[in-house]
């Protein structure tokens, strides 16, 4: 019997990364296939290939036995493949019916929309997905789960054969999740094939028939759901050889330098308390969206907090802006180098000087170019930034060297506490090791370091302690003696 969908030996590379290699999955009619894996395992890339966002480098796809090679998203839609993303794509100020038929509105003579027909058809679809709202209601007034059901109704209006749901439950309450699952079951029983991507393993066990694990761009294993246990699933997701990447550190742990008490930010996280000592490297682990970045940014004054205290050294720090944070002795390295770390079209020296312009000038007002050059030359030499001169624009540097410019600027303010958000994302292995060495050197000099990373091996390799966040709260803390990928994953995915 031919499967509904076959993706065979799919490979895809991006500059500098192999996102997928030789991945095969299949999906039957009336089946829910779960796809799980760590951040960056290749789940999204695989689904984007299915949705026609970009073509695979190698491999082929078949839909009900016929070759399927979408060139653009429209082709996939027309073939009945619907991907529902985490961020919903509805138009809030139009009616439910209009959203369902968006881009596909029934039209009469002169192109006028046939309202009566539109609402009638929408009503039928809403009944199928079990959503009891008027077709004329504005989408804005619906809850998130109801909006997702509208997306599903839209999928049905295009006579969907395959529906992909990427993290559909991330923002749902339990009651909303029940509605969604009931709808998934109804669709499954009606012969639609569904792909369910989630970090929440208990949901995967509840709703899926089979589960495929992706790891480092490869499909590790597919089993029917009864043949998996939570432990075996986590093991399959994280099991990798640990490279000898991580240099040793000989830091002496001293007094508390950063203390956070009951910190909260609206809609992001709440009740976060921890302390980081001098000479200590503390990791902040968890899944994307768990609130890790927000914690760093709130400590740094880049996001407004709605409660709690931050203490730097022995003093309460009143930090209302990054400027205050720098004055209090904090430094922050953002995860988005291009968007938040650097002024891309500016030279290295200008980027390095940004945080200390006052010191690099006479009377804190007239720039002293020689002081800027001295600082830039010194930083470039210390961090071994590979560039012919400091007047190169940072745009022309490799990712690793760009990251060193961001780190180098953080050093210019002589901070005691470093907040590093994904400090090695998108840089090559050689540069990673240099970043690890720098982190070690800073710790040995008595700095406190708090680092967020989605690379679990990295966290286990460089940290003295790991705090794990789940859904905006600290789910637990692991001392070095209890380090294991399984423990981190358990805390991150199960709480």
């Amino acid at each position: 019997m031919a499967n509904l969908l076959e993706m065979q030996a799919i490979s895809k590379g991006f500059p500098g990364v192999k996102a997928l290699s030789d991945v095969s999955i299949s999906l039957d009619k009336g089946e829910v296939l779960g796809i799980v894996g760590e951040n960056g395992a290749g789940k999204s890339t695989l689904m984007k290939i299915l949705a026609g966002v970009f073509p695979p480098d190698a491999g082929k796809m078949q839909l009900e036995g016929a070759p399927f090679a979408p060139h653009r998203p429209r082709d996939a839609l027309d073939a009945g493949i619907i991907v529902i993303h985490q961020e919903l794509s509805l138009v809030p100020d139009r009616s439910v019916a209009e959203n369902i038929f968006l881009g596909n509105l029934p039209r009469g003579a002169l192109g006028a929309v046939r309202r009566a027909q539109l609402n009638r058809q929408a009503k039928t679809l809403l009944e199928r997905v079990g959503l009891a709202v008027s077709p004329q209601a504005r989408v804005r007034h619906l809850g998130i789960a109801q909006q997702q059901l509208v997306e599903i109704a839209r999928a049905l209006s295009r006579s969907a054969r395959v529906i992909v749901m990427d993290e559909p439950t991330a923002t749902l309450t339990t009651a909303e999740q029940r509605i969604l699952f009931a709808t998934i079951e109804a669709l499954r029983d009606a012969g639609v094939g569904l792909v369910f991507i989630s970090h929440h393993l208990e949901e995967v066990f509840e709703i899926c028939n089979r589960v495929t694990v992706l790891r480092d761009g490869m499909a590790v294993e597919t089993r029917s759901v009864g043949d998996w246990t939570e432990a075996s699933l986590i093991q399959a997701m994280v099991n990798r050889p640990i490279d000898a990447l991580f240099p040793e550190r000989h830091a002496v742990v001293g007094d508390i330098l950063l203390e956070v008490e009951g910190l909260a930010a609206p809609g992001a996280f709440s009740d976060v308390s921890f302390a980081v000592r001098a000479g200590e490297v503390v990791g902040l682990g968890g899944l994307i969206g768990a609130g890790r970045t927000e914690v760093l940014k709130t400590i740094y004054g880049a996001l407004a907090s709605s409660g709690g205290r931050v203490r730097v050294g022995t003093r309460d720090a009143r930090i209302r802006s990054p400027r205050d944070a720098i004055a209090a002795g904090l430094a922050f390295v953002p995860e988005d180098r291009k968007g938040e770390g650097l002024v891309m079209p500016f030279p290295i020296r200008s980027n390095l000087a940004l945080s200390t312009l006052g010191k690099l000038s006479w009377f804190r007002s007239i720039l002293a170019p020689k002081r800027i050059d001295r600082l830039a030359d010194k930083t470039v030499a210390e961090l071994r930034i590979r560039t012919p001169n400091t007047r190169q624009v940072v745009q022309s540097l490799s990712g690793g060297n760009q990251q060193k410019v961001v780190l180098g600027r953080a050093l210019t303010t002589h901070p005691r506490v470093f907040l590093l958000d994904e400090p090695t994302r998108g840089i090559d292995v050689g540069a990673k090791v240099e970043v690890y060495r720098l982190i070690n050197a800073l710790a040995e000099q008595g700095s406190a370091i708090l680092v967020v990373s989605s690379d679990m091996i990295e966290l286990l390799g460089i940290c003295d302690r790991i705090l794990v966040m789940r859904a905006g709260r600290l789910a637990g803390a692991l001392p070095r003696s209890e380090f294991s990928q399984e423990r981190v994953m358990q805390l991150a995915a199960l709480g």
């Binding site: 802006s321 400027r323 922050f332 079209p345 500016f346 200008s350 000087a353 312009l357």
Partner: protein, 328 residues
């Protein structure tokens, strides 16, 4: 081997960057010379001292306003209100003079009201997070309206000589207005290129979020550029009123377009982070030449408007093509 590998990209990178840079500024100078030579050859009236003086005087007003606009545009913002603010501050200074306020006080009134209107835009942009385009468009209408309200739509005239000299007088062989303009350009050029504030202006325009996270006071920087732009529009209003010995509520209509065109022709990017006072000076002179040439050639006034619009379109087109290339 290792040294060969590192030296090749060095030469290429450095060479390319400086060539494109030189090309940009060279293009402006070449354009300027080409228009001058063309006008000198085809129009006998062009190379007369009276005509050159009139180009300089006309360019003074555009120039002073364009300097303020340069600061704003380098932060990635825009100030559409400057033309109306020139008119409003001009009539306010005029009203002060007619009420027998001493000349220096009247000048301060003009510049101060300009700064206040810039402060209003600054407040809306930084505290209320409104778009500078829309806010300054609103102020364009409000300032023009106020200029009519306070004058009842009438023209004010007969100001003291001391005041008129600012716009129309001479200091030795040089027009006072041109000297003031030169001074404004010099100071602004130093501020933008050589001070901490200037570096902050570029950083805010180059990447606002990165600047904020690096500890730069983004709100303060934005506020100051709009206040500078407003204050310079006020100075422009005073100079214009002095030159004409009168202040009209309909003065300087469309001046913002000339000023923005000058800034963009001078190599600034409407996307922010790029531009210079020297570039703006060249842009102002080119706009002055084009306007003067169109007058000398007796081009119909309706066409003058059209051609000015087309010049702006062309400059912005080049800017946006450059931006696209930079991104890819």
């Amino acid at each position: 081997m290792a040294s060969a590998q590192t030296s090749t990209p060095q030469r290429r990178g450095f060479g390319l960057a400086s060539i494109t840079r030189a090309l940009n500024e060279l293009t402006i100078v070449v354009g300027f010379l080409a228009i001058s030579i063309y006008l000198a050859l085809t129009t006998p009236a062009f190379l007369t001292s009276a005509n050159i003086l009139s180009i300089l005087l006309a360019s003074s007003l555009i120039g002073i306003v364009a300097v303020g606009e340069t600061f704003v545009i380098v932060t990635g913002g825009i100030d559409l209100s400057v033309g109306s603010v020139v008119a409003f501050t001009g009539v306010m200074a005029g009203l002060a003079l007619n009420a027998h306020v001493p000349v220096p006080m009247a000048i301060i009134v003009g510049i101060g009201i300009g700064a206040l209107s810039g402060g209003f835009i600054a407040f809306a942009v930084t505290f209320l997070n409104m778009s500078p385009f829309i806010v300054s468009l609103a102020v364009l209408a409000m300032a023009r309206g106020l200029a009519f309200i306070v004058t009842n739509g009438n023209t004010l005239f007969s100001f003291p000589d001391a005041f008129d000299n600012i716009g129309g007088g001479n200091l030795g062989p040089f027009p006072v207005a041109a000297l003031i303009t030169l001074g404004v350009f010099l100071v602004a050029g130093l501020v933008l290129a050589r001070t901490v504030f200037g570096a902050e202006v570029y950083a805010v325009g180059g990447n606002r979020e990165a600047a904020r996270l690096a500890g730069i006071p983004v709100g303060r920087t934005l506020a100051i550029v709009y206040i500078i732009s407003g204050a310079l529009a006020g100075l422009g209003g005073v100079i214009l009123a002095g030159r004409l010995d009168s202040a009209q509520p309909i003065a300087a209509v469309g001046l913002e377009l000339n000023a923005i065109a000058a800034v963009v022709i001078g190599g600034a990017s409407l996307f922010g982070g790029k531009g210079s006072i020297l570039g703006t000076l060249l842009g102002v002179l080119i706009i002055g030449l084009i306007n003067n040439g169109l007058t000398l050639k007796n081009v119909q006034p309706f066409w003058v408007q059209f051609i000015q619009g087309a010049v702006i379109f062309g400059a912005v087109l080049i800017d946006s093509l450059n931006q696209k290339r930079r991104k890819s």
